[in-house]
Subunit: 238 residues, 2 copies
DNA sequence: GAGTGGTCTAGACCACTAC
DNA sequence: TAGTGGTCTAGACCACTCA
C-alpha cells in the first residue's frame, strides 16, 4: 500500500477532475475529511498541501479550500517535462532520431556544467524530435558515465528517464531550469527544420538524482513557434 | 514574533549562504536541530522542507540533509518576478515609462482571460521598461477594477504589486505562468527597441489574490536577447 | 461565537543508510 | 545495530472569516 496522504491526494484530485468538486466551490473542511478518510488532521493537511501545490485548490484561512479551475491547467504533473510526456500530451505523431551517441572526455565547458571530475567520461547524446513530420526539438544531453555503464540507441530513442528510473532503479529528484533565446547555431540548422526562423529557445536543465548528485546536463533546443512552457509560481508567503 | 519554522528556515538559510554550512556537507540531523532551536521535530521538518523547496538543501532518507550549491541559484526568492525585483537583481540603471493608463470595457478576449463579468470595467496599463538606455520589456497589464478604485501613473511607474500589498493590504498568492515566442506586433515595434529582432518572448501571467480570486492578467513582452527565466522543477515524488 | 485553516508539540512506528 | 529521515497520530492553541 502507498502513503496514506498520497492516496487521499489522488482521490480528491480525481473528484476535482471528474467535476464532483466543481471549481469555485469549497472542499469539505479538514475536520470532515478526517472522518471521511479516517485520517489525522496532519495527514489530511499533507494531502491538501499537495493539491494546493499542484494547482487544484487554494487554501484560505478561516474560509476553507477553494477548488480552482484545474481543467485549464494542462501542464504535466511532474514539472520535469520529458519529451515523451510532452508529445503524448499533444497526442500527435512523433518520432525520435538518435543522431549521436558517444562516450567522450568532456571539454571544459561541459565538465564545468556537470561538475565532472577530470578524466571522467561523459555520454554525449544528440536527439532530434519530430512531430507531425517536422523536426522541431533538438536535445543535447550530457550524462555522467559513472551512473550509466551502458547506453544504447534503443534506450535513447524511447526515454532515458524511464530507463534510469525503472531499470536502474535510481530516482531523479529535481532540476534547475533556465530558459533563454539564442540565434541558431550551425548544428541547429543541420538537425532541425528551422526554415526562416532566426531564433531558437534553449532550455537548459540540470538534473539530479535523489541522493543530491548531479548527473545530467541537457540543452533542449526548440523551434520558437512550437515552444510553450507552463509553470505555477506558487508563492509560499515568506 | 514570526512563525517559528520560518525563523529557523531563515537562520539556516543564512548560515548556508555565509558558508557556515558548506555545499556538499550535511546539515546537523533533525534531532540535533531540535535541541539547537528548542523546537519539535515537525517544526524543524517544516523549516527543512522550505529549504529543500527553495533549493538550499536536498534531503536523503537514511543519510541526512545535504547542502546544495546555493550560490549558483540566483533566482528571485518569490518566483513571481516583478520588474522591480528583476531590475534590482540586475543592478542596472532602469526606468519605467507608463504609456497607457485607461479604464476600459474589456473586449471579449480580455474578458475571457480575466473571467470578468460582462459590464465590469478593467484597468488597462501599458508600461515600457528601459534598462541601460534600451527599451527591452513591454508590459501589458489588465486589472479588474473591482479591486482597485484608483490607479495613478505614479503607482504604475513604481510597482503595482507593492501598492496592492502594502497600501491595499491584499496578498497576491500565486500565478500561472505561460511562456511562448511570437513575432513582434505593431505595438511591440512601436514601444520597444526591437532593431532587427524578429521574435519577442511573451510571458503570460495570471495573478490571483490570497482568497483565490483572479484579479490580473499580464503579458510581459521581452526582447529575446535579454530574456532569461530560471526555475526549479522540484519533483515531489508522486 | 462557531467554524475554518495555521502552527506547534510529543510520541510512535517505519524505511533506508551506514558500519 | 545505531542513526537518519518519512509517515502518522492525538491534542493543543492561535488567527481568521462570517453570520
Amino acid at each position: 500500500m502507498q502513503n496514506k496522504y498520497l492516496v487521499i491526494y489522488r482521490q480528491i484530485a480525481e473528484k476535482i477532475q471528474d467535476g464532483e468538486f466543481p471549481p469555485g466551490e469549497k472542499l469539505p473542511s479538514e475536520h470532515e475529511l478526517m472522518e471521511a478518510f479516517h485520517a489525522s488532521r496532519e495527514t489530511i493537511r499533507k494531502a491538501l498541501n499537495q493539491l494546493a501545490q499542484n494547482g487544484f485548490i487554494q487554501k484560505v484561512q478561516g474560509k476553507g479550500s477553494i477548488v480552482l479551475d484545474a481543467a485549464k491547467f494542462d501542464f504535466p504533473v511532474s514539472g520535469l517535462v520529458s519529451f515523451k510526456e510532452l508529445a503524448s500530451s499533444l497526442g500527435n505523431r512523433h518520432v525520435t532520431y538518435v543522431e549521436k551517441l558517444e562516450l567522450i572526455e568532456p571539454d571544459k565547458n561541459v565538465q564545468k556544467q556537470l561538475q565532472a571530475l577530470p578524466g571522467s567520461k561523459v555520454w554525449k547524446v544528440y536527439r532530434v524530435r519530430e512531430i507531425d513530420g517536422e523536426k522541431i526539438i533538438f536535445d543535447k544531453d550530457y550524462l555522467k558515465q559513472m551512473y550509466i555503464d551502458n547506453l544504447t540507441e534503443k534506450i535513447c530513442a524511447s526515454s532515458i528517464y524511464e530507463y534510469i528510473e525503472n531499470e536502474l532503479q535510481m530516482k531523479i529528484s529535481f532540476a534547475k531550469k533556465e530558459i533563454i533565446v539564442e540565434e541558431p547555431t550551425e548544428e541547429d540548422r543541420e538537425y532541425m527544420d528551422l526554415d526562416g526562423y532566426s531564433n531558437v529557445v534553449v532550455v537548459k536543465n540540470y538534473v539530479y538524482f535523489d541522493d543530491a548528485s548531479l548527473f545530467q546536463y541537457t540543452e533542449s533546443r526548440h523551434r520558437p513557434d512550437k515552444f510553450k512552457f507552463v509553470d505555477f509560481a506558487r508563492r509560499t508567503h515568506t
